[in-house]
C-alpha cells in the first residue's frame, strides 16, 4: 500500500499533521516532535521516490482514481523528485535544529502555531513540486505562501509585521498573475493538466493569448521567486523572520518558484517559448543586473541577515542565467545551483540562528570577536561563506563551474566575466563579516557567552558537511541535475 501511494504521502502527511499540531497548545516540545517526525518521514518518502524515478520513468498518481486529464494527476519525474528531496531534506535538518531556537525567538504560547504553519508550508512546497495540474499548483502555491506570511510575522521585532504585510501584497499579486496566465492557457487549450497541455499548446503557441499567458506566468512566478526588480519583499521578509524560518525559506521557497518557472518554460512549452517571446533575453539581462548590483548592495549592509538576503537575490540570478541559456549545460547548472544554494544558504542562516541565540543580534558590529567564543558556529559560517563565493571543494564551486562552462559553450565571455566579478563581490561581503568575527576583539564589557548548544550545532554542521561532501563527490547531484536537464531539453 505504501509503495503505490508514495507520490502523495509526502504531501498529505504534513497536511494531516498541521491540524494535529493544534493539539499541542501547552506542549511546544510535543508540537516540535510532531513536526520533526513528519519532516523525516517526508525525507524518507522523497528519497524512495528519487530512487524509483532515477531510472528515467516518471511516476504518475491519479487522485481519487479519476483518469488523468479530468482528475488531478500527481506526476513525479526526475526534476520533481530532485526538488522534493531538497525541500524535505532542508525541512528535516532545520526541524532538528529548531527546538531551542524557536523557544528563544517565539512566545511560548504561539510555538504550536508556528509548527502548524511550518507543516502547512512544507505540504504546500512539496505539493507544488509534485502536482501535474496547473491550477492545483496555484492552490499549493497559496497554501505555502499564506502560511509563510504567518511565519514571517512571528518575528520578534515589529518590523516583521510590515515585512509580512508587504510580502503578502506582492505575493498575492504574483499568485493572481499566475492564475490569469493559467486561465488564458485554459481558454486556448481547454485543459489544466500539464501532460495534456504539452500536447495541445504547440498548435496555439503563436497566438497572442498564449503569449500574454507566458508574460503573466513569468511576472507572477517572478514575484514569488524574488526576480531582480520585483524582489523588494525579500530582504525585509528574510531579515525580520525568526531564524529558523529564514533558513527554511531561503533554502526552499524561492527554489520551488524557480522550479515552477522551469516547468513552464521547458515542460509546458518545451523551450519553444524562447523563439516567440524574448523571455530568455529579458531574464538574462535582469539576472546579470541582479548578480552584480545585488552583490554590491549586500556589501553595504550592517545586518548580516539582510546581507545574506541580498546575496540570495543575486544567487537566484545565477539560477536564472543557467535557465535562460537554454542549453543542457546551462540548465544543468541552474538546476544544480537550486540544490547547492539550498545547502549553503541553509547552513549560513542556521549559523546566524546560533549567533542570534547567543548574542540576540545579527549586526556585523555586535559580532566582533565572536570566533573566540563560538568557534564552531563561526567555522560553519566561514565554510558556508566559502561555498557561497565558490571556492573549490565546496558546492558553490561546482555550480559556478558548470555555469561558466555553459557560458563558454556559447562563447559569451562578458557573461563569464560578470559571474566572476560577482563572485569577487561575494568575497568582499563575506570578508566583512569574517574580519569582524575573527580579527577584532570582543568589546570590553560584553556578556560572556559560550558556544551554541549541541542540538543546534549538529544539524548546522550536517548542512556544512553536505556543502563540502557534495563539493567533492559530485556524482549524485550533477548526475541527477544533468539527467533532469536532458529530459527537459529532449522531452
Amino acid at each position: 500500500m505504501i509503495s503505490a501511494n508514495l507520490p502523495i504521502l509526502h504531501v498529505i502527511v504534513p497536511l494531516i499533521g498541521a491540524p494535529l499540531g493544534l493539539m499541542f497548545r501547552r506542549s511546544p516540545t510535543g508540537a516540535w516532535l510532531l513536526a520533526l517526525i513528519i519532516s523525516w518521514f517526508t525525507l524518507a518518502d522523497s528519497l524512495a521516490l528519487l530512487l524509483i524515478v532515477s531510472g528515467g520513468e516518471a511516476v504518475s498518481y491519479e487522485i481519487g482514481d479519476w483518469a488523468a486529464p479530468w482528475g488531478i494527476e500527481y506526476r513525479v519525474d526526475m526534476l520533481a523528485a530532485y526538488l522534493i528531496v531538497i525541500v524535505s531534506g532542508i525541512g528535516a535538518v532545520t526541524m532538528l535544529y529548531a527546538r531551542q531556537s524557536v523557544e528563544a525567538e517565539i512566545p511560548r504560547d504561539r510555538i504550536y502555531l508556528f509548527y502548524t504553519m511550518y507543516l502547512l508550508t512544507l505540504s504546500g512546497l512539496l505539493g507544488i513540486a509534485t502536482t501535474g495540474d496547473t491550477f492545483n499548483l496555484f492552490v499549493f502555491l497559496e497554501i505555502s505562501s499564506l502560511s509563510t506570511y504567518v511565519m514571517v510575522s512571528l518575528g520578534a521585532e515589529r518590523r516583521a509585521l510590515t515585512a509580512a504585510f508587504r510580502y503578502l501584497v506582492l505575493g498575492t499579486l504574483g499568485a493572481t498573475f499566475y492564475v490569469i496566465g493559467v486561465g488564458l492557457m485554459y481558454q486556448m487549450t481547454g485543459t489544466l493538466n500539464m501532460a495534456d497541455l504539452v500536447n495541445r499548446l504547440p498548435e496555439v503557441a503563436e497566438t497572442r493569448t498564449i503569449l500574454a499567458a507566458v508574460a503573466f506566468l513569468t511576472v507572477g512566478i517572478g514575484l514569488k521567486l524574488g526576480l531582480f526588480p520585483v524582489h523588494v519583499w525579500l530582504p525585509n521578509a528574510y531579515t525580520y523572520a525568526p531564524s529558523v524560518v529564514t533558513a527554511f525559506l531561503a533554502a526552499t521557497a524561492t527554489k520551488v518558484a524557480v522550479y515552477v518557472l522551469v516547468r513552464i518554460y521547458y515542460t509546458l512549452f518545451k523551450g519553444g517559448v524562447f523563439e516567440t517571446l524574448p523571455v530568455d533575453e529579458i531574464l538574462l539581462a535582469l539576472s546579470i543586473v541582479a548578480i552584480v548590483a545585488m552583490s554590491a548592495v549586500a556589501i553595504f549592509q550592517t545586518n548580516v541577515k539582510r546581507l545574506l538576503a541580498y546575496s540570495s537575490v543575486a544567487q537566484i540570478g545565477y539560477m536564472l542565467i543557467g535557465i535562460s541559456l537554454a542549453t543542457i549545460t546551462g540548465l544543468t547548472a541552474g538546476i544544480l545551483h537550486l540544490f547547492n544554494h539550498a545547502l549553503m544558504k541553509g547552513a549560513l542562516f542556521l549559523a546566524l540562528g546560533c549567533v542570534f541565540f547567543r548574542i540576540r543580534s545579527v549586526n556585523v558590529d555586535d559580532m566582533a570577536g565572536l570566533a573566540k567564543v563560538m568557534p564552531w558556529t563561526m567555522a560553519a559560517f566561514v565554510t558556508g561563506g566559502l561555498s557561497l563565493i565558490g571556492i573549490p571543494l565546496t558546492v558553490g564551486f561546482v555550480s559556478k563551474w558548470y555555469l561558466i562552462l555553459a557560458t563558454l559553450e556559447k562563447e559569451w565571455w562578458p557573461l563569464a566575466a560578470a559571474i566572476l566579478f560577482s563572485s569577487l563581490l561575494a568575497v568582499i561581503y563575506m570578508w566583512r563579516v569574517i574580519e569582524v568575527a575573527y580579527f577584532r576583539e570582543r568589546p570590553a564589557g560584553a556578556v560572556s557567552i559560550g558556544e551554541a548548544p549541541l542540538a543546534m550545532l549538529v544539524p548546522m554542521w550536517v548542512l556544512v558537511g553536505a556543502n563540502v561532501y557534495f563539493g567533492i563527490d559530485t556524482d549524485l547531484t550533477v548526475g541527477t541535475a544533468r539527467a533532469a536537464a536532458a529530459l527537459l531539453m529532449g522531452g
Binding site: L146, E157, R158, F165, T172, V179, G183, Y186, L192, N303
Partner: protein, 123 residues
C-alpha cells in the same frame, strides 16, 4: 465596434483588474491596499466565470430537456480561488490590526518613515 461590444466581458475584467492594481500601487493606506487586492482578484474570478459561459447553456446540472450546459470546471476552480482570496484578505487584515497596535498607524508612508529613522539598528 465588434471588439468593444462582442468582448464586453473582457473589457469589464480589464477595467476592474487595472483599477484594483492601481489601488494596490497608489494607495498608502493598508486597508485600501487590501481593498485593491480584492478587486484585482475578483476581476480574475469574473474572467474565469465569463470564460466558461456557453451561449444558450444552462447551469451544469443534469435535467430533463436541456442539452447545452455551461462549463462547470471554471466555477469549481473559482470557488477554490475565492476561498484562497478570503484567507488572504483575512490574514492581511489581521496583520493590519497587529500593525496598528504596534505602530499606531496604518499609513504605509508614515510607517516607512518610522522604520527608516526610528530603528536603524535592525535585526
Amino acid at each position: 465596434m465588434e471588439t468593444v461590444i462582442g468582448l464586453f466581458n473582457y473589457w469589464i475584467v480589464i477595467v476592474l483588474m487595472m483599477a484594483g492594481f492601481y489601488i494596490v500601487i497608489a494607495q498608502e493606506n493598508m486597508i485600501k491596499k487590501m481593498v485593491g487586492l480584492s478587486i484585482f482578484q475578483v476581476a480574475v474570478f469574473v474572467f474565469y466565470i465569463s470564460m466558461s459561459n456557453v451561449f444558450g447553456g444552462t447551469a451544469p446540472i443534469a435535467a430533463e430537456g436541456f442539452t447545452r450546459y455551461s462549463n462547470p470546471l471554471p466555477h469549481v476552480l473559482i470557488l477554490t480561488a475565492i476561498v484562497v482570496g478570503v484567507a488572504t484578505t483575512a490574514l492581511g487584515l489581521a496583520l493590519i490590526v497587529r500593525i496598528k497596535e504596534e505602530f499606531g498607524t496604518i499609513e504605509d508612508d508614515q510607517i516607512r518613515d518610522m522604520e527608516e529613522h526610528g530603528e536603524e539598528s535592525g535585526a
